[in-house]
Subunit: 214 residues, 2 copies
Amino acid sequence: MQIDPAKLDITERYKLQIGAIVPRPIAWVSTRSESGVSNLAPFSFFSGIASEPYSLLFCPSNKPDGTEKDTLRNASATGEFVVNIVTEAQAQQMSATAENLPDGESEFDFAGLIEAPSAVVKPPRVAGAPVSFECRTREIVRLAPGMPNGGNVVIGEIVQVHVDDAIIDERRRIDPERLAAVGRMAGLTYCSTRQRVDIPFGAKALDAPAPSFT
Amino acid sequence: MQIDPAKLDITERYKLQIGAIVPRPIAWVSTRSESGVSNLAPFSFFSGIASEPYSLLFCPSNKPDGTEKDTLRNASATGEFVVNIVTEAQAQQMSATAENLPDGESEFDFAGLIEAPSAVVKPPRVAGAPVSFECRTREIVRLAPGMPNGGNVVIGEIVQVHVDDAIIDERRRIDPERLAAVGRMAGLTYCSTRQRVDIPFGAKALDAPAPSFT
């Protein structure tokens, strides 16, 4: 099937994208408004960028009315945000923070979450998240300012990292089993990171036995 | 554990990022050089952006010597690239295309892959990939030009989508089971998308039974 996206409506385009680009890591982004209200929301259009500068990005679309989401407005106005990593243990609370709350109401309170202090930036971390990246907003690429569902890319420089010692293995690396991160699929669906397999790198991959994903 | 990334070397920073930001979708990016040589390489710093404009991004770092990878040079010079989605069936071949080949040698040939024609852009698709997004380069954000391992963000507008009819369900959506996409973890490790669970959206998540990821 060959599809010209110009002939699809916005919802159809979106479903194609979230159905094909899987599994997606989840950035659970905490910000603070200029008046001091904490905000927390999940974004699965999220990626690391590089080690130099040490950076990551997430993509908060405009709302259907063309205005910017609180997370984008706060990351833009204050220049700070925190990306918390979502695990199986907090997946339900993460989904709850996607709820559209009235202005001035904090998703932390709504989802029964506790704010943990950050070291360098003002927005709090999510207590219980095994990894948090404190970020300073470096650049925001607005692809369709003011347009309904318009795309934005928020690029952040990582200025501090918090890691729960309990997820570190004897080689001083993050153990994926202890981390138990959750990935995003389409619709209401998530996936685990428990079914893992190693594949040799580069030319060696061609000589290896076929990987078993079961 | 609290870590100031300025005190880490580049490898330590990278390992922290790829260990925590999981599971990552894989963009298997095909490009063509100005002289017509096809290139294919996997990138797991990859994300959708939005439906308006219909866009996605991936992040090819500079090489350790500060020069740009072939994929970035081609996407920049020709303004075109294709993102192919990686499944269990092609995971080994995908890893093989990460091999550093001599100039002018195609990863398609090296990994025993077949070029399928694209509809709108010149770079070929990967035959057998169930979804391919043909893209025009819209913007490239170079965060550290000329620097070793410097970060880049390649933003593409999706101009054509190919979807294998065999992965579409009766609701005309991509069936994650039939797609069988593979996610990227740290090191040599990948994860499947077979272990899935639904979590209700927003406030409803708090009243739902705890999700079971086993």
